[in-house]
Structures are given as structure tokens and as C-alpha cells.
């Protein structure tokens, strides 16, 4: 039990460590700077969206539309390059993500509907919009050189994207642990009724959570399009699952109230290094998905084993309620 809870507490580190060790044993040259850099860059795309999703999941919501927003924002930023220039187009692309998040948030808060179902619906809509705008064809940008500049590797390891991701993780960590709104996000996700009764503006927090998540999905999509000089309606179609997997591996609870930025960092790196390792070994994509799925199952089982045992041996409420003296004595 103690052992299990220790394992559970540090599970991200353990899983990440295991992934790296096993990969290093199986894949020659895995622990080189260039491989790590590649893995980190790959992880950063998942990671940017995961940062937004971490906040949303802690607040008790979920956003399935991230992958679709990713594609749509990228397409907009590429198409508009000819009209208004690269930088303004990129900004508009990110704002498309913000707008999509605002729509999600408004609908969830305003209509008081389940965010799982609602963002499933908006996911279909955003994805279809992306196909509609592009006639289901990839679109290309104006400046190939830019994509080379953006893909440049600094200090043998870092790309622009991965630096941005790590910076955001640090900020998120600080925000979640040290600021009042950050703590309130946990309150809203852990016990919405108590949060509301205590005067916390839960609706606003949830709405802003969606806006934040949408903006980051937009940012990730725009960066992807700039790096590849392409906007495609099929971009990011398997991203949502990878992102949710990464955040959950990082110890964030799907029901809300629990999670951390550093956990998400660990989860994202795990998914990233796993992907890279399997790609190096030419493991087919479908097998990769099987492995990710198995890892998720393992985690859920581990979580359950720890929590149920904890409940059985912890202080049961019944023990402390019994009190004949105060209840039964005569006056």
C-alpha cells in the first residue's frame, strides 16, 4: 500500500524513466542530442495543446476539439499569408483558436451542457470547416525559408517550439500553485458547489479555461503550419487522443480537481519519447497506438488500486461520528 502510493505519486517520473531506459536499450543511438531534440520538438506540439487541456481538466471540463482547432488555425494562417503578410496571418490564426475556445466556453457555460458532448460536436464542426475552406486540399504558404528558420535547432536540442512549450509549462506551474485564480481552478473542478457558495466565479473560470485551451491549440496549429509551410484539413486528427493521454499520464484527473504542470510535462515527454522510439524502430503507427492504449490502461488500474486501498484502510467517517455521550445523556 505504501509502496503503491509512492509509485503512484512519482509515477510520471517512473514511467518517463522506464520509457527512456527501455528505448535506449532497444534503439541504438537513442540518447543522442539530436534524437532528444527531435523528440522534444515532436512533444512540443502535443505539449502546447496539453498545457491548455491541463487547466481545463483540472477545472472539471474537457475539450475534444483541440485537434480540429489546430488544423483550422493553421489553414487560416497559411491562406491569409498572401493577403496580409506572414506575421499578421499567424496572429489571425491564433485568434481563430481563441475564438473557437470562446465558442466552446460560451456554449458550455451558457447552455450548461456536458463539455465532452459539446466539444465532440464542435470538433466535427471545426474539422468540417477546415475541409470546406480548403476543398479538402492542403494549402501551401509563401515563404519556404521561414519554415527552415523555425525548425532551426539551438544548443543541439531546442527548437523554437520546444522552448515555447517549456516556458509555458514553467508559467503554468507557477500560475497553478502560486496565484489565486490558479487555486480557484482546483476548487471549481474539485467541488463546484462549494466553489460557487464561496463566491468563486466558476462560470468565468470555466469560460476562460476554454479560451485558453483554444488559443493554445491555435498557437500549436499555426506553428505547425509555419514549420511545414502547409495548412492541411487532416492535420492533428490523431492529436486529441495523444494530448489527453499525455495529460492523464501526467496525473491530471479526468474528473477535475487534480493535476499539475510538471506532471503534464512528464506525460508529454513520455508520449513524445515513446513515439520517437517506435518510429526509429519502424514500428507501424497502429502498433504505436496499441502501446499507448495499454499504458493508459495500466495507469488507470494503478490509480484505482491505490485509491480503493487507501479508502479501505483510511479513517472511515463512521468511526468519528459515534458519540453516545452528547447524543444520549439526559439533561
Amino acid at each position: 500500500m505504501r509502496f503503491l502510493s509512492l509509485v503512484s505519486q512519482h509515477r510520471v517520473v517512473i514511467i518517463l524513466g522506464l520509457t527512456l531506459v527501455i528505448s535506449a536499450l532497444l534503439v541504438p543511438g537513442y540518447l543522442s542530442a539530436s534524437t532528444l531534440g527531435l523528440g522534444l520538438d515532436r512533444a512540443a506540439t502535443i505539449g502546447l495543446i496539453a498545457v491548455g487541456l491541463t487547466v481545463l481538466l483540472i477545472s472539471g471540463q474537457i475539450d475534444l476539439s483541440g485537434g480540429a482547432v489546430f488544423a483550422l488555425a493553421g489553414i487560416v494562417s497559411v491562406i491569409l499569408q498572401r493577403e496580409i503578410g506572414i506575421l499578421p496571418a499567424a496572429i489571425v490564426g491564433i485568434l481563430v483558436g481563441t475564438l473557437a475556445g470562446a465558442i466552446n466556453g460560451m456554449l458550455v457555460v451558457g447552455l450548461k451542457v456536458n463539455s465532452l458532448v459539446l466539444t465532440l460536436a464542435t470538433m466535427l464542426i471545426f474539422r468540417s470547416l477546415a475541409h470546406w475552406i480548403t476543398n479538402s486540399q492542403p494549402v501551401t504558404g509563401t515563404d519556404i525559408m521561414l519554415s527552415l528558420a523555425l525548425a532551426k535547432i539551438y544548443l543541439d536540442v531546442f527548437t523554437l517550439r520546444s522552448v515555447l512549450f517549456i516556458a509555458l509549462i514553467v508559467l503554468l506551474h507557477f500560475w497553478l500553485t502560486r496565484t489565486i485564480p490558479g487555486r480557484n481552478v482546483f476548487a471549481v473542478g474539485s467541488n463546484p458547489a462549494a466553489a460557487k457558495e464561496s463566491g468563486i466565479a466558476s462560470d468565468r473560470i470555466v469560460f476562460l479555461g476554454f479560451v485558453f485551451a483554444g488559443t493554445l491549440a491555435g498557437l500549436a496549429g499555426v506553428l505547425q503550419s509555419l514549420v511545414t509551410n502547409t495548412g492541411s484539413p487532416v492535420f492533428g486528427s490523431e492529436l486529441t487522443v495523444a494530448v489527453i493521454a499525455a495529460v492523464v499520464v501526467g496525473g491530471t484527473r479526468l474528473e477535475g480537481g487534480k493535476g499539475s504542470a510538471l506532471g503534464t510535462l512528464g506525460g508529454v515527454l513520455t508520449i513524445g519519447s515513446l513515439t520517437i522510439a517506435m518510429e526509429f524502430q519502424s514500428v507501424p503507427a497502429y502498433v504505436q497506438q496499441v502501446v499507448s492504449g495499454l499504458i493508459l490502461i495500466l495507469l488507470v488500474v494503478l490509480d484505482r488500486a491505490v485509491t480503493t486501498k487507501g479508502r479501505a484502510s483510511g479513517t472511515r467517517p463512521a468511526l468519528v461520528r459515534d458519540n453516545p455521550i452528547t447524543q444520549g445523556g439526559t439533561t
Partner: protein, 500 residues
């Protein structure tokens, strides 16, 4: 007593209608600063509706509310809080994943700009907890605390807000004697500081001890407000139920038969040791004791919810091995747990579905549930236990606590057990429902069932049980016969202190 007599709160002509229900009609309720004002009434009398109006959760259909000298309209809890009204709920309403300090300052954490001043907050929370006499680490995650500690945090949270009016709804239902005494100390201090305290409780003894005034509600109407001086518990009960309750704990005589459930020298290795007792057909055996004495653990172990490391359990003279509840049910044992909400009912299902849950297999023919048998069972149970409203299709969570409890008992009786273990069957139910539940238990033993009733309420134990086993620190006393029973005797055994 205090001298301040300024009106802290004046609610006049308050009515509240819900679709199809009149929850409150024309209630007047006034509380003075510096007094403790108790509100009593049966479940469903309108206490919680009145408090939710006071708390800003509901808007009254009609009526006026004055806080201090000003007439106010509150639309949400935040409005009430801004007016200095704080509510301590009976149900813990805190955030399990935040720390104690964060919970105490929930919604108003101290900080500069957006940045949390954690150290300041922890220090302030520690000071408040200290003042309340609660030994709780403010950095602890709230979810790791016991229920009684969480209740104290809830009170600390209200107190830390320095309210003008504080409403406590059954604050002692999860507190120990020591903690209740500490709470009363702090309530008196708050009262002397001039805070107006509204105190809602089923425990009339506590009301008599702490309150200055009492208001009785019945069926959504205010029956009476009067000073606590000169009022007796019996008077309050009469006002609450609107009739004389001659015998709150009716004891029904039943012929005592042969031994049904017998446990010998059972231990779980942790919480209880060497516990032996037997219950015979037609007998009610009381199981009582102090905090953590191990009563619930014994019941759970007999029912197969936890493991025995030693000892034997026999049903109807045959030794049985029970490792799971389903084995226990097959052996003829049923267990109605204490935590109704958590373990007893499936809230989303109807009364009928809840009742037939354990015996669905018996109602099934060729894999299909017999609708008519299912309905007939529900109809009979509703009638036998006078479950109100008498509608098997109603969702069980819409019933009052007492009626839910009746349905839970009905559910286990449908499995036709020979021994029934009831864990605090009347906790949190009102006086009328309590009597009905006692009546039902009486009928069951009259029909030859053996009943083990765990209860903390000594009057209940004394009134209902044929024999009583008192537990202390995991050990069980010899059974006391009815003729040997007195509160003093039980308390002596429970605390281990012989009376002079």
C-alpha cells in the same frame, strides 16, 4: 446572557413555492445580535428552505428580509456573504483537493494582485483553527481529514470571515463530545462578541444547552418562537409533530426463539478483538459504544465487507464462512449501512428499482425481469413500510431521509434474511419517521427475525433493545439484559470508568 437586543435579522411573511409544492408559507423569523437562536422541526418542515433563502441560494416567492436596519434582496450566496451572513452546512461543502488553509479562505484568499500570499494565509488559518481548539494542520489536504475534522474546518471557514450572522445546520452530527464542547465554547464566545447565531439541530438536548431562543417550524409554517427558558424537550417535540408523542421508542413484545446469528471470538486483527454475542429470533440486540469502539467494523466484517482473522460466525446453528456480501446474503444475513447516501441507495433509480435490486434474480424468468412481480414487490413494500409518497416509481433521491431509510430496509427484507444488522438506522431522520422505523423493526422481530441494531443514541438503545452489548476499544462487554439497562451503566462500560 447578553444584553444586546438589536435585531440582526428580520424575515417577514416569507413564502416559497416550488412547482407543485408550498415549502414555506408566511414565515416570520427574527434573530437578535448576541443570541443563539435555534430552529427545530421535522425533516421537511422547511428549515433548510428557510436557510437557503437566508443564504441567498433561493429567492423567496414573497416576503421581506431585513439584515440589520436595511431591507435586502439577495440573489446569490455571494450577496448574503457580502452582508456578513455565513452558512455552515450539515453536508461538508468544501474542496477535498485543496489544503485546509485554502478551504478556510476559499473565495477570498489573501494576495497581492493575483499572487497568493500563501504564508500569510497559512498563518491566519492556523490562528483561527487554534482559536477553535482544533488540532488540524492548515497545510494538510482537506480530503485526508476525517469527517469531524472537515466539519471543524467548515466552521473555521465561516468564523474566519468574521460574520455578523452565522447559520449552523446540524453542526454536531459528526462531532465527538469533546469537539461538541469545543464548538459550544466558541459559539458562546461568538455570541458574546455580538454575532447572531442560527442553530439548526435535531438534538433537542443540545438546543436546550446552547440556545437562547427557539423557533419551531412545522409543515412550512412557523409554529412558535419563544425563549429557551422554561421549555422542555417534550414541549418542543409536541410543537414539532403537532401531537403528543407518548412513547417515542415503542417497545413491542416478541416471543424470543432460538439462536439465529452467533459470533464467537471474532477479530479483524486491527479494530476489534475477541467479540462474541448471539441474537435470537424475535430479539433486538443493541450494539453501542464510544467513538471508534469498533461497532461498525464488527458489522462490516460479519457481512463480509472486511476480513476476519479469527473467530466463527454461525447462522441458525450452522457455522458459515463469509468472504463477501453475496455470501452473507445467501447465509441469511442482511446489513443496512450507516451511510445511506454512499452505500445504501442508488440515487438515480426509482424506489421500486432500489427495492428489487438484491433479489432481481428471483424475479427473473428466462433472463427477463418479471415486471408484474417487481411492481407487486414495490407496492407491498411501500404499503408495509408506509413509504411516503406512496409511489414506487418516484426517484429515491427525492424522498426524505427517513423514507429513504425505510426503502433501504425494505430492500433488504425482500431478500428474506433471518438476521438483520441495522447501522444507525435513525441517524438524521426526524422524530416521526424515527418512531415509524422503530415500529417496523418491532414488526420484524415479531415475525421471528433477529435484529442487531447499532446506535449511538442511548434513549433509542434503552427503549428498543432486549439486550445490549457495549463496545470499548474493540472489545465487547457481556450483554446487558433489559432489566439491567441504564444510561449510567452503558456509559460506564463505554468509557471504562465505573460510576461511584
Amino acid at each position: 446572557m447578553t444584553v444586546a437586543a438589536d435585531c440582526a435579522l428580520d424575515m417577514r411573511g416569507i413564502s416559497k413555492n416550488f412547482p407543485g409544492v408550498k415549502a414555506l408559507s408566511n414565515v416570520n423569523f427574527a434573530v437578535k445580535f448576541g443570541t443563539v437562536h435555534a430552529v427545530v422541526g421535522e425533516n421537511g418542515a422547511g428549515k433548510s428552505t428557510l436557510m437557503k433563502i437566508l443564504n441567498g441560494s433561493y429567492a423567496p416567492t414573497s416576503g421581506t428580509i431585513k439584515v440589520g436596519d436595511a431591507e435586502v434582496r439577495m440573489r446569490r450566496p455571494a450577496d448574503a456573504q457580502a452582508l456578513g451572513i455565513r452558512m455552515v452546512h450539515q453536508e461538508i461543502n468544501l474542496v477535498p483537493d485543496l489544503t485546509v488553509a485554502e478551504n478556510v479562505y476559499l473565495g477570498r484568499m489573501p494576495g497581492k494582485w493575483t499572487f497568493l500570499r500563501k504564508r500569510e494565509m497559512v498563518r491566519a488559518a492556523a490562528a483561527v483553527l487554534d482559536e477553535l481548539g482544533a488540532a488540524i494542520n492548515p497545510r494538510e489536504r482537506l480530503g485526508n481529514l476525517s469527517i469531524s475534522q472537515q466539519q471543524l474546518v467548515e466552521i473555521a471557514k465561516a468564523y474566519a470571515a468574521q460574520p455578523r450572522i452565522i447559520v449552523l445546520d446540524e453542526p454536531t452530527s459528526s462531532l465527538s463530545e469533546h469537539e461538541t464542547a469545543a464548538l459550544f465554547r466558541i459559539l458562546r464566545k461568538m455570541r458574546d462578541d455580538g454575532i447572531a447565531i442560527v442553530y439548526i439541530s435535531h438534538r433537542l438536548k443540545e438546543v436546550l444547552e446552547i440556545a437562547d431562543e427557539v423557533t419551531v417550524l412545522r409543515d412550512g409554517s412557523m409554529i412558535q418562537t419563544r425563549p429557551i427558558k422554561g421549555i422542555k424537550a417534550a414541549d418542543m417535540i409536541r410543537l414539532m409533530v403537532g401531537r403528543e408523542v407518548s412513547n417515542v421508542f415503542p417497545k413491542s413484545p416478541a416471543a424470543i426463539g432460538k439462536s439465529v446469528l452467533r459470533v464467537e471470538h471474532i477479530s479483524d486483527g486491527q479494530r476489534f478483538r475477541d467479540v462474541s454475542f448471539e441474537v435470537r429470533a424475535g430479539e433486538i440486540l443493541g450494539l453501542t459504544g464510544l467513538v471508534g469502539a469498533g461497532r461498525t467494523e464488527v458489522a462490516r466484517a460479519i457481512f463480509g465487507l472486511s476480513r476476519l482473522v479469527e473467530g466463527t460466525v454461525s447462522v441458525n446453528g450452522r457455522e458459515v464462512s463469509i468472504n463477501s456480501p453475496s455470501q452473507a446474503v445467501r447465509a441469511g444475513i442482511a446489513y443496512v449501512p450507516e451511510d445511506r447516501k454512499g452505500d445504501g441507495v442508488v440515487p438515480g433509480m426509482s424506489v421500486r428499482e432500489n427495492i428489487s435490486l438484491p433479489i432481481l434474480r428471483r424475479l427473473t424468468r428466462f433472463g427477463r425481469i418479471s415486471r408484474s412481480a417487481d411492481r407487486a414487490l414495490a407496492r407491498d413494500s411501500v404499503k408495509q413500510f408506509s413509504i411516503s409518497p406512496p409511489d414506487g416509481e418516484r426517484r429515491i433521491s427525492l424522498l426524505s431521509g427517513g423514507n429513504q431509510q425505510k426503502a433501504v430496509i425494505a430492500k433488504w427484507l425482500a431478500a428474506k434474511p433471518s438476521a438483520l444488522i441495522l447501522d444507525e438506522p435513525t441517524r438524521g431522520v426526524d422524530v416521526g419517521a424515527k418512531a415509524e422505523i422503530h415500529h417496523i423493526i418491532g414488526q420484524l422481530v415479531a415475525g421471528g427475525m433477529a435484529v442487531v441494531m447499532i446506535s449511538s443514541e442511548l434513549p433509542e438503545i434503552l427503549g428498543v433493545c432486549d439486550r445490549v452489548v457495549v463496545m470499548r476499544d474493540g472489545y465487547a462487554s457481556e450483554p446487558l439484559l433489559r432489566s439491567e439497562l441504564s444510561e449510567e451503566r452503558i456509559m460506564a462500560l463505554a468509557t471504562g470508568e465505573e460510576m461511584a
